[in-house]
């Protein structure tokens, strides 16, 4: 018996006056990894922002249920505390705020929501140290201000670290491979794979097939002109790698 985690029905959304998501449908069950592939400008990132509730992204119609609840009525932070996590394509810098401080605020906000006690400093540091080690994050990096002066690889490692300590039930990876060399990509992919379980799910948004060699999806959807134009198994990604997006884009123009 499959448990649906995220159910998106006929979602339409716009940014300013531009309609970008046009009748998007997708159901993702616990234990599944879905990939969304599509050409640049198809609205892939917009989809992730809409799901997370980013201000400025307006839902015009449709429904989204997350663990059976109405996702669209929740604030950004409520969605996050309920277990929706976005690995961002371009994580933002927060000057003067050390990584550890930031992580502590985040983890305790989530724990509080789950009615768990706040983590005390020693247990928190222990957790961070263990998880950082797996991702090759140095103690020095944890002291630096969030993302300030981080390389592309360091930024994505920090995103992955947050994924591993916040343990969300649903993670969206928005172009998680951008700016990564192959070694960094492997580290990030290993970190993400380690979090895969029967109780959670992931949506991997990517332009290239490359990432899907490392994070192998159960389903692949081709996204063009604001909605899914074709769905299949992981072989669809390989097919796409050979034929390109042209035919999908054309079909929709």
């Amino acid at each position: 018996m499959k448990t649906p985690l995220l159910e998106i029905e006929d979602l339409c959304a716009r940014v300013q006056d531009k309609e970008i998501i046009k009748g998007f449908n997708l159901t993702i069950n616990a234990g599944e990894v879905h990939a969304i592939m599509g050409p640049n400008g198809a609205g892939k990132s917009t989809l992730s922002y809409v799901l997370c509730g980013k201000p400025g992204y307006e839902v015009t119609s449709g429904k989204v249920r997350f663990k059976g609840q109405d996702l669209l009525s929740m604030s950004v932070e409520e969605r996050a505390r309920e277990g929706l996590f976005l690995i961002m394509q371009y994580p933002v810098e927060i000057p003067g705020v050390p990584v550890t401080t930031f992580l502590k605020h985040a983890i305790n906000a989530v724990r509080k929501h789950r009615q768990e006690p706040e983590l005390d400093t020693p247990s928190f540091l222990k957790l961070i140290r263990e998880e950082s080690k797996k991702l090759g994050i140095s103690a020095d990096m944890l002291k630096r201000p969030v993302n300030v002066g981080f390389s592309g690889g360091e930024k994505k490692r920090l995103e992955t670290l947050q994924l591993s300590i916040l343990k969300p039930s649903f993670a969206i990876l928005d172009e998680a491979d951008s700016g990564l060399d192959i070694d960094a990509l492997k580290v990030v992919a290993d970190g993400v794979n380690a979090e895969r379980s029967d109780s959670n799910a992931m949506l991997v948004i990517t332009h290239y097939q490359r990432l899907l060699n490392y994070i192998v999806p159960d389903f692949v959807h081709i996204f063009a002109d604001g909605h899914i134009v074709q769905s299949g198994g992981k072989e669809l990604a390989l097919e796409l790698e050979e034929s390109g997006y042209a035919r999908f884009v054309k079909e929709n123009n």
């Binding site: 933002v92 927060i94 003067g96 605020h105 985040a106 906000a109 947050q162």
Partner: protein, 484 residues
């Protein structure tokens, strides 16, 4: 009889979070309203001052009458009627309590409530000595005996006038003469109390010294005067905290802090200013016109000003450094936060006179609501100050779209070998930063405070630890309701 009332006099319905807004119901002894030579004689007589000091006050008063209130600051407030204030208010108690046991329990309770225990055994386990100034007088000074063992004098300035007249006479007005400016001149005429510190040669003060200022009485100006003298090779860290009740009318505070630093000595002066800022519509609040100045007289002397300014309706304050001794060092670290209708015009002056003098200015201004803030600073290098160096950094952070932030850095350089650097930035808390924090489950207000604390970090790390924690809390309180 005196019962303490906890309720603020104004029932504030805007949900204001100023937790120090209560009024202590204590009988007070005050001067008649208004300002004239008789009032000055009254104050001087109350304090049993020597003739020279009365004469000095009168000279200051006569000079003040010829001065005009300055208007160059970017501040707008109703004209102050100097004749409608009381210039002296003292809680009625035994003239000078010989020990803490003799201090009115009502006063002790007030300070307790403000988080400033005056009982020595409780006072932060002996790391901080406190001088408590209530309206116009110092009500208690802790740890005096212990400090006296090392020759350190820490007492109210009134007592210093009595017991250490030579030191007071030698240094009073030597850094800020009464001719300096309108508010300093007024203070010189009517100053009531404040702290006095003398650190003898070669002594490193073993604990933080602090003064806690509290304005309580209605329609009363507070004019305190602090004088700190660090003799050769000595060191002291000094803290200053301020609060006032929440009142509908504006209260005037015009203080002076003078610091004299001799050869090889160092003074670290930290302020957390939390005077009542007025309500959401700008009603009430303290007018804070302060002259603070340190003179690094000897070679290798050093002064460091650190201030966190969250309170007051109007702030006019420029802690300055006169770098007279060769190789002397002046530092200014400031965080100023304005919200609602608060106004602040604050900054520093670095006057390079000696050779190889260095100064550093780090100013962080945060404006929210409809507030307005100006950084105003002067770096001046005299012709003889060869090798002078200054680094200035002025960063402004805006929250919302209705506040203002201005930077006015003056530079006057008369020496070719001087190296001066100035950096300034203005930024807003970006939507991207807020989204990032919130996406990780951090609520919007918490996210703002996290970002603001990060912005101020360079300054906050210069505060003594206990003060830094208090200041971080204050920043959060000051910004409550500034987003959303």
């Amino acid at each position: 009889m005196s019962t303490e009332t906890e309720k603020p006099e104004i029932i504030d319905e805007s949900g204001d979070k100023y937790k120090y807004g209560f009024v202590t119901d204590i009988a007070s002894d005050s001067a008649p309203m208004g300002l004239n030579e008789d009032i000055i004689r009254f104050i001087s007589a109350k304090k049993g001052e020597p003739d020279w000091l009365l004469e000095w006050r009168l000279q200051a008063f006569r000079f003040w009458q010829k001065l005009e209130e300055p208007t160059w600051a970017k501040l707008h407030y109703d004209k102050i009627d100097y004749q409608s204030l009381h210039y002296y208010a003292a809680p009625k108690q035994k003239v000078s309590p010989k020990s803490l046991d003799e201090v009115d329990p009502e006063l002790l309770a007030t300070y307790e409530k403000l988080g400033i225990p005056l009982k020595e055994q409780e006072a932060l386990a002996g790391v901080v000595a406190v001088d408590a100034v209530f309206d116009s007088v110092s009500v208690a000074t802790t740890y005096r005996a212990k400090l006296a063992e090392q020759g350190i004098i820490f007492c109210s300035i009134s007592e210093a006038v009595k017991h250490h007249p030579d030191l007071v006479r030698q240094y009073l007005g030597s850094v800020v003469p009464y001719t300096d400016n309108f508010f300093a001149c007024l203070n010189s005429a009517v100053f009531t109390d404040g702290s006095f510190v003398y650190i003898p040669k070669g002594v490193r003060c073993p604990m933080e010294l602090s003064t806690y200022f509290r304005i309580n009485a209605k329609n009363t100006g507070q004019f305190e005067r602090t004088l700190i003298i660090a003799d050769e090779g000595s060191y002291v860290s000094y803290l200053e905290g301020c609060t006032a009740p929440q009142r509908d009318e504006n209260q005037l505070h015009a203080a002076i802090v003078e610091i004299v630093i001799l050869k090889d000595a160092e003074v670290k002066y930290s302020t957390v200013q939390n005077w009542y800022p007025g309500d959401k519509d700008g009603k009430g609040g303290v007018y804070n016109f302060v002259t603070k100045r340190a003179a690094c007289r000897g070679a290798n002397s050093k002064v460091s000003w650190t201030q966190v300014e969250t309170g007051s309706a109007v702030t006019w304050k420029y802690p300055s450094c006169i770098l007279q001794g060769d190789n002397s060092v002046g530092e200014f670290y400031s965080v100023a936060i304005t919200n609602n209708l608060q106004q602040a015009d604050t900054g520093t002056k670095m006057l390079h006179i000696g050779k190889n003098t260095t100064s550093k200015i780090i100013s962080k201004g945060i404006s929210a609501g409809r507030s307005n803030q100006t950084y105003r600073g002067l770096v001046k290098v005299s012709p003889h100050a060869s090798g002078a160096r200054n680094y200035s950094q002025c960063d402004s952070l805006l929250i919302g779209a209705s506040c203002g932030s201005h930077t006015v850095p003056y530079v006057e350089n008369r020496n070719k070998t001087a190296r001066l650097e100035h950096e300034a930035t203005t930024s807003k808390i970006s939507d991207e930063q807020l989204f990032y924090c919130r996406q990780r489950g951090i609520g919007e207000e918490e996210a703002v405070s996290l970002i603001v604390n990060g912005f101020c970090k360079e300054v906050m790390q210069h505060l003594p630890l206990e003060f830094a924690i208090e200041a971080a809390k204050l920043i959060n309180i000051s910004l409550e309701g500034s987003v959303g």
